[in-house]
Symmetry: D4
Subunit: 205 residues, 8 copies
């Protein structure tokens, strides 16, 4: 089976959230900040709902980069691997060990900024045989052309470029699965219009 047809399951995937720090977030302008925040919350809530292992890391959180955005730690917990200097999180033994400890070979990965914090660990992990899902809309960066160039370079290197709701649906697989209704609610909560559709529907019952 080709890697590009393999799929995520609750048992084969780990979530890596890299450098979503408040000082970096305000520098991003490729997508509306409200949309980025929403997507990050949706992605993390999906992981939480499925008890997916997750690794959160920050770079120099005591400096201008600031702390991890509270929306992430609120969902995934306060454990954050603070890196003292490694730009590529994969170069941090604490980060890499945390991934390896899960024994999982598919990494759902997002980072701020896309061209750095997501790009480099994604390339490194693919090189070591991991199947990397780069969640482009739960990442963010300086501007649109940086986002576009990143999509091309990630794709070229064999990374799967994807989006948070697609990841949720891929891992959910079936609405009748154990956590189907909960995941459906996570999806609706973060796809505004679809939530209105559900509101209209259930208002009649």
């Amino acid at each position: 089976m080709s890697k590009f047809s393999e799929v995520l399951t609750p048992d084969n995937a780990v979530l890596a959230m890299i450098d979503h720090q408040t000082g970096l977030l305000v520098s991003c302008a490729d997508e509306h900040p409200l949309v980025v925040k929403n997507n990050i919350q949706g992605l993390c809530s999906m992981a939480k709902t499925l008890d997916l292992p997750s690794v959160v890391t920050a770079s120099l959180a005591d400096g201008p980069n600031g702390p991890i955005m509270p929306e992430i730690t609120h969902i995934l917990g306060d454990k954050v691997i603070n890196r003292e200097g490694e730009i590529n999180a994969w170069h941090s033994s604490a980060f890499k060990s945390a991934i390896e400890a899960t024994g999982r070979k598919k990494i759902i990965m997002a980072g701020i900024v896309t061209d750095v914090c997501l790009m480099f660990p994604a390339l490194s992990a693919v090189e070591e045989g991991y199947d990397v899902y780069a969640v482009i809309d739960a990442s963010a960066t300086w501007n649109k052309i940086v986002q576009q160039a990143s999509i091309h370079r990630l794709t070229q290197a064999g990374v799967k470029v994807t989006t948070w709701a697609s990841v949720l649906a891929e891992i959910m697989s079936d609405w009748r699965c154990e956590k189907g209704m909960e995941l459906g609610q996570v999806l609706a909560d973060h796809t505004t219009s679809y939530n209105y559709v559900m509101n209209s529907y259930f208002a009649r019952n």
Copy 2:
């Protein structure tokens, strides 16, 4: 003093939220739905914080238009004036009486869709001497050109076209006012980047 230099105060203004119903919201495409929802929440929270009188109305809420979005009733309460047919809310005696009962002559008004639910009561109220603030970014409509045409027609008729955060700042007036810190929090909660700035700042204290 010219009307255009007069300002909102907690004592001279009433909030009118018109037809923000889930079935209508999904038809709007002039702004990102997540942004519209955020702005509506910000506007209503401002009113709640200041105990500003507010009037919420819906048009045919039992039909396809659906109920008022729960984000509004969650903040402003469940009282909704359901109109049985009047497109222009000003033609509803229940709505107009509710406004008049407040004794206030400045109306902060938002509606879905902009070119109908906001436009017509705004024109009617101005004609009767009210000072109308049309909150264009807490309203929404079919597409961008409808939004643009509406801004021109409202301005032409003497309505003040404004935005939710500007309204908050105008009515707040001074950070040292009684509700200053609470209003500041409402502002930050709904201006994503500014909230990150505050997070970074207070993380150091």
Copy 3:
């Protein structure tokens, strides 16, 4: 009462459709041609539903400009006033007489191209005391900046710049009016998403 607060009624308005010819339509690029066609159909269907008097005119229909788009004549009938040279339809005695013959002083006007076929008769009619509704989204022109400049110049001269669905709602006034359900259907038929909302709703009954 200020002109800007007066409203359209089925008894005070006439529809004027100016130069919506197939050879001109393909030159327009300010809005998607599918959207323009849809809006024109919505506007004409509204007039038809209300038996509103309408005047359709074309400029040199035997030449490259081509015939009136069949979507209009299909709804409003085949009567077209063909002008042999007057660019400003108001300068055509046949056109002007047709408007005057209705005895109505409010003109709902659309034209291709906006900056010419809509602009000049709108300015002329306003000068003679008519209340002109320039339906900007049932008109079309060369590109976006021409549309924008036209909105400013029309507004400056006292024309009301509006959009087709806003016109429908203004003239409809109340869902319980005689033609309320029919007008509602016209609205839904030409506001795609809203029609899906109605489909979802009625699928459950």
Copy 4:
């Protein structure tokens, strides 16, 4: 011969329309809803004209997702495979069997939303040796970046990303084929400007 140079014919292709449901459609914002509807109608009419086998499927049509949009069933008939939970239609034995029963190895596939309902069956079918044409403009999704990411991931996996009019032309091959004039009419009916060109042309005969 490389897969990428093989072409569609009326004898080797099947159409799969996946989850074009009214409750999902209102949540899509990557293209204008009127354009999406138009493209879907064009694609289905092409299939109808050529008596191409088609499979229509829906996901939980009794819930908020709502029924298949009537524009599809109007053209392709009322037979819809309702899935009780499988997100990836390829996991539905009814859907997969229906495709297999046609004996055809090229699938013209469209779905709402692109990143889920089109993406997953496209990847699965390619893995099993099918030649998949992902009709990106008869599909729709949450926003532009999701559309872009989907195009990259589909292309990376060997899916052909295409558009409805290109599919029509590829399968038509020659204007002198049996259904040439009918297919030409389908094309014109759904490419607005080209239809005006034909109107102008035939008005002179």
Copy 5:
């Protein structure tokens, strides 16, 4: 009669082309440079066709601003009033005298850059009772927001903001006028799509 309903005629108007110099043109980015060039050529050809008096002026043409673009002098002739320093052309007695010498009170005016070379003489001329047509699409400037701000400020001061093809149609008035066919050709030559329509049409005769 209100100024806003008065119209251009071949006898009451003068064309003023201000500072369309090659060194300035390359700094403009509010519209595509090819479109700006095309519009300027269309506007000048209209004036040439009607023997409209025209005044061309340049600012410091021997310096970095460079010479008037050859497309203008090719049509209107080599006479250029070179200003040695006055930014507002109206402050140049040579320029102002040239306008006054025509005895005409309506000025069709374009300039590079919009916010300076068009803006200031437009404001000055309006103040002295002239009726100024600011041809926004035969002018150009640094970026879009400067164009937008200029439209608002010009309109506020009573200038008519318009576009080149609208001016041509206004002054042409009737296709049967003496120069009707020639003006029609000017229009077609500079509205690309409309020229294709004419090509298609006349290919059949």
Copy 6:
């Protein structure tokens, strides 16, 4: 003489820079932050070159809003009026006095954010008879629609909405004035392409 035809001179104008603080700047998204910074530098350098009086104010500079951006104080000096709470700078007696002390009645005003820090003092100053130039591109705000609504509301109230390079040209008036060459350099330094033109030109001398 109408206010709208009056012009700025080095002797009648004062510059007011309001709340360009680093914590607010990162929240703005209506224009590229690099462009906003560039425009602010251009505007301040113009004032510096002409020894124009200037007033700089900040709101709660010790809190999250942060200090005035160093690019301003570097040019205009370190004197900043820190407001302890007044949102509308005009309500600060220190600020208003500083303006009044100049004896000048034309205020060149910019602020972050446009809809608050620029809007309210602009409305207040106009009410008191000042001629206010709102420099929209040396101001910035949350997003595009807030910028657009602000332009309409400012214009409606009689404020002149303008841009930094237009202000520079208006006040410069003539290239031969005392500071002509210096102002020309300020212009070039902050209009990137025009600077390249000058580079090309002088490289040959």
Copy 7:
């Protein structure tokens, strides 16, 4: 040597212009029609300057598609291979023979519409071993998403997607080649700003 590093020369390339017909051109909306015309003229003039063999073909030129745009035949001559029905020009023996007769294996190819008239012969030619340069900006199609999908599908199949000025530069190779100055003039004539630069430069000699 990889195909992707091989280059065009005046001796190894042939130009194929496919279906640039006036009736089709007016239906295209992915780029401004003026820009498309300009690019087509630039590409054809390059071929003419180098005496590159060229093949022009049209589809049903007597019907609504209309004749080849006169800008092409003006440069390349009146010889047009009219296809009576083949959509893929490669299926026309007259067209294919004309290409083969040149003995050249690199085809510079452009077509209206991109997704059909350029796409299918490009795929066919690549399959037979030709090196195809798809000139995306001398082609045009219905809208932006069709252009984007076409770029992806062409690239996926091994076609080189390029643009007209890049082709000119690649085949020119050196400014000192025999036709260097002539090709430089073709480039300048169709890159508006660069022509202004040359005007400024030579105005000083």
Copy 8:
């Protein structure tokens, strides 16, 4: 190890800046000129900070193309290889020798215009086994579609398409490296918002 996972280091990379000449820069319109200049400065400052070898070349610098922009020579020094005619810099023995003399096999390359001055040497270098980083945002070209087509063609040929800040971070690798603080300052100086964040942070120390 796959080429796509290899990384830049201060010891394996050389910077090539190709044809960033003032006469060419004013013709570029795919990104804002201020942003392009900023990115070029950032890229060159990174190289300077690391004492990375760099090669700067110009094409016909005495003609209309003009000199290398002073921002580059200010940072990297005045040594410029002037090519007398070779369009592809790789064909210049002086340029190629300069690259080879560094003994480095990874080239960080940028050029004006992207589709020519960056494209051709990138393709040539990749063919000879170099690992080429095409810095798309320190390059510029005629318009957006040329940029997009270039990204696809470069990627197809195995070039890594990247952006300046990503290059800086890749080569920096760790904030604790010898030049970490200096590189961080280069990054901040050219990512406007991030600099404001640092300003806010250090204002409190």
